[in-house]
C-alpha cells in the first residue's frame, strides 16, 4: 500500500519540467531590477509552508495535464464534478444555524427560508454534541449557547414545526450522538407521515475528525465506528436520499492545521470509511456515491482553490485505482464549504465581511456544492439576524451580480494554479504514506500524532502573528485604540430554564415503563456487534427516551474515551 503512495508521489514529481523560462527571466530581468531598486528578496510562503515564487510560467504546467485535468464531469474531475456546474444548479446556500430553545431555532430557520436560503443546517449546543441532556449538572450554563439544545424527540418536533421535510434538505452537524439525532429525524418524518424515501439531507457523523480536531466524543473510536457502520447500512437500505457521512476537514483546519494537512487528514479519514464499508460487506459503488465532504475555505485565496481541485483529483484517482470503484459517482468528491471561523477577528468586526467574501469566492471558484458564509459578528457570539442576513446576501451578490460562477473552473490552466494543485496533491500523498507507516489513520490518531502535527502548525502560525511576520488587519496592524463593542446575540438563561422545565414535564408525561423497555432492548443489542442498532435506537426515540439516556447505554458498555497526551 505504501508503494502505491510512493508511485503517486514519483508520478507528480516526474510531471514537473525544469523551470528554464523562469530561471532565464530571473537572471536576465528580475535580479538586475531587484538590485537596481534595492529590493531585498524575501521568502513567501502559504499556510502549508510551501515556497511561493513571484512568477509561474508555461514550464509549471504538468506535462500530463490533459490526463490529470479532464473536463468538468469527467474523470478525474479536477475541474468540477458536473458538466454544467453552476449553470445547471447553483451551489446550495446553506446557513449553519441553531441557538437557544428549539422554538428560537425554528424562528431563525423560517427567517432564513424567507430570505432565500435553499437548505437547512442545524447547529447543536455543546451538551447535545456530547450526548448530555439539558438537565445534567454539567450542562449548566451551556444550554442553547453554541447551538440549539435537543434532549429528546420533542425538541426536534419543535425545531421543524411547520417545515416540510420532504421539501427541503437538512444537514445536521452532529457526530458522537449522530445515530441518535438521525434516528430522531427519521422518526420525526414518520410521525409527519413523510416517507423515509423522500427525505434528504446529511448527517456529519465523521467521528475520526472528532478525535483529531473537534474533540466532541463520547466513547472510544471502535464504538462510534460501529454506530456509523449501522447508520450506513440502515440508510443505504431504507433512506435512499440520506447522506450518512460528511467527512470533514473544516474542524481540522479550525484546530490549526494547514491547507495541506486539512486535505490529507480528511481524505485519509475518507479512505478509512471506504475500507470500513467494504469490510462490512457493502459494494463500494453502492455506498461511496453517498459520501460527501466538508471543507474549510480560509484566507489564502489561491491555496484554497488549489486545495479543492486537488481534493477532487486525489479522491477520484485513489477510488478508481486503489479501490477499484467502477461507478463515476463513487469517484466524484462532492463537498460543502464553510468560510473560516478562525480568520474572523474580534477586533474591527466589520472587516470580517470582506474576509468572508474572499473565502466564499475561493469556495465557488473551487467548485463547491454548497456554502455557508460566516457572519461578521461570530468571533463574538452566535450571529444576530442582521449579521446572518449580510452573510447570506454575500453569497447572493457573488452568485447573481459578479459573474464569477458563469464559467466553470475559470482558473484552470493557469500556470500558478496548476502547479499549486499538483504540489498540494503531492504533499497530501506524502502524508498518506506517513500515516500508513504508522499503521493507519486510527493508530495515528490514537497515538496523538495527527493532533500534534496540527498543534505544531497552529503554534508556528501564532508565533508568525506575534512576530509580525504575518499580518492580521486590526489585530497586529492598523489597530484601533478606541474600539466600541458591537451588538451581539444574547442567549439568556431563560432558554436553559425553559428547556430543563420542558424535559421534566416530558419525563412525567411519557410512558416510563416503555422507555425502560426500549432502553433495555438497546443495551442487549449493543452487546452483540453483529446487530444493527438503528431500529433499536429509533424505538427508544419513539418513546421519548432522552439523548442522554440513550447515550448512557453506550457509556455503560463501551466506556468513555480518554484523549491521548500530545505533549
Amino acid at each position: 500500500m505504501e508503494d502505491y503512495w510512493k508511485l503517486k508521489i514519483e508520478g507528480i514529481k516526474n510531471s514537473f519540467k525544469n523551470n528554464t523560462e523562469y530561471d532565464k527571466w530571473k537572471e536576465n530581468v528580475l535580479n538586475p531590477w531587484n538590485k537596481k531598486t534595492h529590493y531585498n528578496e524575501k521568502k513567501y510562503k502559504n499556510s502549508s509552508d510551501m515556497d511561493i515564487r513571484e512568477l509561474y510560467t508555461e514550464d509549471d504546467l504538468p506535462d500530463n495535464m490533459d490526463k490529470i485535468l479532464g473536463n468538468p464531469g469527467e474523470y478525474p474531475f479536477t475541474r468540477g464534478i458536473y458538466p454544467n456546474m453552476y449553470r445547471g444548479r447553483l451551489w446550495t446556500m446553506r446557513m449553519f444555524s441553531g441557538f437557544g430553545t428549539p422554538d428560537d431555532t425554528n424562528k431563525r430557520l423560517k427567517y432564513l427560508i424567507k430570505n432565500g436560503e435553499t437548505g437547512l443546517s442545524i447547529a447543536f449546543d455543546m451538551p447535545t454534541l456530547y450526548g448530555y441532556d439539558c438537565d445534567n449538572r454539567r450542562s449548566t450554563g451551556e444550554v442553547g449557547k453554541c447551538g440549539v439544545n435537543v434532549s429528546s424527540l420533542a425538541d426536534m418536533e419543535r425545531i421543524f414545526k411547520d417545515i416540510d421535510l420532504s421539501e427541503i434538505s437538512t444537514s445536521m452537524t452532529i457526530n458522537a450522538p449522530a445515530a441518535i439525532l438521525t434516528a430522531m429525524y427519521f422518526v420525526l418524518a414518520e410521525k409527519n407521515n413523510t416517507d423515509l424515501k423522500n427525505i434528504s439531507g446529511t448527517v456529519q457523523a465523521d467521528i475520526l475528525k472528532e478525535y483529531i480536531a473537534q474533540k466532541e466524543w463520547m466513547y472510544p473510536p471502535e464504538a462510534h465506528l460501529r454506530l456509523i457502520r449501522d447508520m450506513l447500512a440502515y440508510s443505504t437500505k431504507n433512506v435512499p436520499k440520506w447522506n450518512y457521512i460528511s467527512v470533514s476537514g473544516y474542524h481540522i483546519r479550525e484546530a490549526g492545521s494547514s491547507a495541506v494537512q486539512e486535505l490529507a487528514f480528511t481524505l485519509a479519514d475518507g479512505f478509512y470509511y471506504i475500507d470500513m464499508g467494504i469490510k462490512s460487506g457493502l459494494n463500494i459503488d453502492d455506498f461511496a456515491p453517498r459520501m460527501s465532504f466538508f471543507f474549510n475555505s480560509s484566507i489564502n485565496f489561491f491555496e484554497e482553490i488549489a486545495k479543492f481541485r486537488a481534493a477532487r483529483r486525489i479522491w477520484a484517482t485513489v477510488l478508481r485505482e486503489k479501490y477499484g470503484a467502477k461507478n463515476p459517482k463513487s469517484m466524484m468528491l462532492k463537498f460543502h464549504t464553510q468560510t473560516s471561523g478562525y480568520t474572523l477577528t474580534w477586533q474591527q468586526p466589520l472587516n470580517n465581511i470582506v474576509r468572508t467574501t474572499v473565502e466564499a469566492m475561493a469556495a465557488i471558484l473551487g467548485g463547491t456544492q454548497s456554502l455557508h458564509t460566516n457572519s461578521y459578528d461570530e468571533a463574538w457570539a452566535l450571529p444576530t439576524d442582521d449579521a446572518v442576513k449580510v452573510a447570506l446576501r454575500t453569497q447572493q451578490i457573488l452568485a447573481e451580480e459578479t459573474g464569477i460562477s458563469d464559467v466553470i473552473d475559470p482558473l484552470g490552466g493557469s500556470y500558478y494554479m496548476e502547479r499549486l494543485t499538483s504540489e498540494i496533491e503531492e504533499e497530501a500523498y506524502k502524508y498518506f504514506s506517513e500515516i500508513d507507516k504508522m499503521g493507519g489513520i486510527l493508530n495515528a490518531i490514537k497515538s496523538g500524532y495527527i493532533q500534534k502535527e496540527i498543534a505544531e502548525t497552529s503554534y508556528r502560525r501564532q508565533l508568525n502573528v506575534e512576530n509580525n511576520n504575518e499580518t492580521i488587519v486590526g489585530v497586529n496592524r492598523y489597530v484601533d485604540e478606541n474600539e466600541k463593542p458591537i451588538n451581539t446575540l444574547k442567549i439568556s438563561d431563560i432558554a436553559e430554564n425553559g428547556q430543563v422545565r420542558g424535559l421534566r414535564d416530558l419525563k412525567n408525561k411519557r410512558d416510563n415503563r416503555k422507555v425502560d423497555e426500549t432502553l433495555d432492548r438497546l443495551r442487549e443489542a449493543m452487546r452483540d456487534d453483529s446487530i444493527n442498532l438503528m431500529p433499536y435506537i429509533m424505538d427508544c426515540v419513539r418513546e421519548y427516551a432522552t439523548l442522554e439516556e440513550i447515550s448512557n447505554i453506550g457509556r455503560e458498555i463501551y466506556g468513555e474515551w480518554k484523549e491521548p497526551k500530545i505533549y
Binding site: 472510544p220 499503521g439 497515538s447 480518554k562 484523549e563 491521548p564 497526551k565 500530545i566 505533549y567
Partner: protein, 304 residues
C-alpha cells in the same frame, strides 16, 4: 501554615500539605528540604513501583488502569516525571490527561514533576518526593520516568520493582534490546498485544533475557483497551518482595555524600591561590596533592 504544620499534615496524609512540601523540596533552599526530609525520614513503608519505557508505549494509560486496581490493596500515590525543554527549561506535563478520571474516583494522589534537564529519567529530588509520599501513608508509590528510553536508569536506585513497558510495531523493542533498559527491568510488559507483531516482540525479549541469565524475569503481554492480562501484572506487583534495603540506602547515601562533598569543596578548589609553580604543574599531580591534604582532615575525624 509553617513547616511544622506541614510535616504534621504529611504524616496525616493531607494532600495540600503533601503537595506544598513537595514544592518546597523541589524549589526551595536546602534548609527547608533537609528539615522536611529529616523529620519524616523513618515514617511509612511503601513499595515503590518504577514504570519506564520508550515514548508512546502507553505508560500513562497503564498507570491509569493499574493504579485504581492497586488501590484495593492499599493507598496509592503517583509521581510522574516529564522532560523539560532544553531551550526554555519549561515543560508541558500531560500525564494526568489519561488518568484523571480514575484517580479522582479512587482519591489517588498524583504529582507531575519536571526533570529540569536532570539526566537519568528522574528529577533531582525524586527520591525526596518519594520519601514524602511514603511518609504520607502510601502503601504503593508508582514512579513514572521521563521515558526517553536508554538513559532512564536512575529508577533502579529508587524502585523496589522496575517495570519496563514496550509495545510492538514501533521498533522500540529493537531499541530496547540494544540499550541499557533490558538490564534494569524486574518485569517486562508488552503493551498493545492486539497489534501485529506482538508475538515476535515478546519472543525477542524473552530470548534476550534468557541470554543475559534473566530466565526468571517475567514478560507479560497486556492490552490496555480491554484490560487483558492486567491481573497477572497486578499479581507480580503485589507479591513482589521489596528490594534489599541496605543496597538502596547505601546508593542514596553515596549520592548525597558525593553531592555534599562537591558542594563543600568545589568552592575551595575554584578559589584556591594558584602559584606560578602550580600552574606549570600538570593538573593530575595537583589533584593528588589536594586530595592528600583532604585525606589528612578525614583521618583526624572519627566517623563511625
Amino acid at each position: 501554615m509553617n513547616i511544622d504544620n506541614l510535616i504534621e499534615g504529611i504524616l496525616n496524609g493531607d494532600n495540600r500539605s503533601i503537595a506544598r512540601a513537595i514544592s518546597l523540596v523541589e524549589n526551595s533552599d536546602p534548609v527547608s528540604r533537609e528539615r522536611i526530609i529529616k523529620s519524616i525520614y523513618s515514617a511509612g513503608n511503601a513499595k515503590v513501583i518504577g514504570i519506564t519505557g520508550p515514548p508512546g508505549v502507553g505508560k500513562s494509560t497503564i498507570i491509569g488502569n493499574i493504579a485504581p486496581m492497586l488501590s484495593d490493596y492499599g493507598k496509592v500515590s503517583i509521581l510522574a516525571v516529564d522532560p523539560a525543554s532544553p531551550f526554555s527549561g519549561g515543560s508541558i506535563m500531560g500525564n494526568r490527561i489519561r488518568m484523571q478520571k480514575s484517580l479522582s474516583r479512587k482519591g489517588i494522589f498524583m504529582r507531575s514533576t519536571s526533570n529540569r534537564l536532570y539526566n537519568g529519567g528522574l528529577s533531582e529530588y525524586s527520591w525526596d518526593i518519594v520519601k514524602i509520599l511514603e511518609a504520607s501513608g502510601s502503601d504503593f508509590i508508582i514512579l513514572e520516568t521521563v521515558g526517553s528510553g536508554q538513559s532512564d536508569i536512575d529508577i533502579m536506585n529508587i524502585a523496589d520493582i522496575t517495570c519496563v513497558i514496550l509495545a510492538p510495531g514501533l521498533g522500540d523493542e529493537i531499541q530496547a534490546l540494544k540499550s541499557g533498559i533490558m538490564e534494569i527491568g524486574d518485569v517486562f510488559i508488552v503493551n498493545k498485544i492486539d497489534r501485529e507483531g506482538s508475538y515476535i516482540a515478546i519472543k525477542d525479549i524473552r530470548e534476550t533475557l534468557n541470554l543475559s541469565n534473566k530466565i526468571k524475569t517475567p514478560v507479560i503481554g497486556i492490552n490496555s483497551i480491554d484490560i487483558e492480562n492486567y491481573d497477572k501484572f497486578l499479581d507480580y506487583i503485589v507479591n513482589w518482595n521489596k528490594k534489599n534495603y541496605r543496597e538502596k540506602y547505601v546508593r542514596k547515601l553515596r549520592q548525597i555524600v558525593l553531592e555534599e562533598i562537591y558542594n563543600k569543596y568545589s568552592y575551595y578548589i575554584d578559589n584556591m591561590d594558584y602559584t606560578e609553580d602550580t600552574l606549570k604543574r600538570d593538573p593530575y599531580t595537583t589533584a593528588e596533592i589536594i586530595i592528600d591534604s583532604m585525606n589528612k582532615i578525614i583521618d583526624k575525624s572519627t566517623y563511625k
